[in-house]
Symmetry: C2
Subunit: 167 residues, 2 copies
């Protein structure tokens, strides 16, 4: 494994694609990298999402959903040969007026050291560069405080969320 | 103006694009057509959105947002020469796992006869054909009941909505 000291920004972009950058991590032994272009192994992604308790979705459909997303972000535990996916988030939206965040996940082993916060910062950083006007998300009850602490506004002007499920 | 009786489905699609269809209307004198492909005049769209009280957005950005949308739906008061835009809705999303509805509007003159309900039915009809698994929206307090009456579920599993606004 290459240490974070030897990983300069040029090398990071070479390995993880344009716009990739180091994730500030509390654990000095860890080298974590954010990428918006490194492709995902769908089985690895499914394992990550399952590790945070999400139900399984057909791989073919997940693949198409990722392709049709505005943004797909991976957080990788760096290894020059086989980086491991430890975090994920994606956005849909027009990228101009609206973007919506889905599927935010940090592997349980890596939770508790602020990586979720860093992941959301990276997502918003990219959306800010795209000049997206408003970003929205649907927060499960257990993570509402997580988003509030980061400056998200809960139900502005009494807005409520409504869902419709296909049969 | 052509009467609705002389407007068969072939002619509707010729005039309003593939997938266009008549909107069931209480007013027999009106011929209203749903279309997902007829292009919008941005000034006319802005006037429609302003008529329901939405703030003005830069036209260049609205244009890009429409281009990047999954679905843009117009409800047209039929006229063979100059159809008038009387309703609008759009969706963003991956179209597979998620779609989100934005900017639902019916011109005030046309409100009160169930056109909003028909518009939402048309939107869901298309998303159902695309086999989208879940459709979401953010409802202003005044329209929550409107969506509940149509079978939408409010905040399933205690889900809350959070917004982040660009500076």
């Amino acid at each position: 494994m290459t240490s974070s000291r030897s990983l300069n920004s040029v090398l990071i972009e070479e390995l993880y694609g344009r716009g990739a950058r180091l994730c500030p991590s509390c654990d000095d032994g860890l080298t974590l990298v954010f990428s918006q272009s490194r492709p995902f192994d769908l089985i690895e992604l499914e394992q990550l999402l399952a590790s945070v308790g999400w139900s399984r979705r057909p791989q073919r459909r997940v693949k198409r959903a990722l392709e049709n997303s505005l943004l797909t972000i991976g957080l990788w535990n760096h290894n020059t040969r086989i980086p491991r996916l430890v975090g994920f988030a994606r956005c849909t939206g027009d990228g101009v007026l609206e973007a919506t965040v889905w599927d935010v996940a940090i592997h349980p082993i890596y939770q508790g050291s602020g990586l979720g916060k860093e992941l959301m910062k990276y997502v918003l950083e990219i959306l800010r560069k795209m000049r997206t006007k408003r970003v929205t998300l649907f927060a499960d009850p257990g993570v509402v405080d997580f988003y509030l602490r980061q400056g998200w506004v809960l139900e502005p002007k009494g807005c409520r969320c409504a869902f419709w499920y296909a049969n």
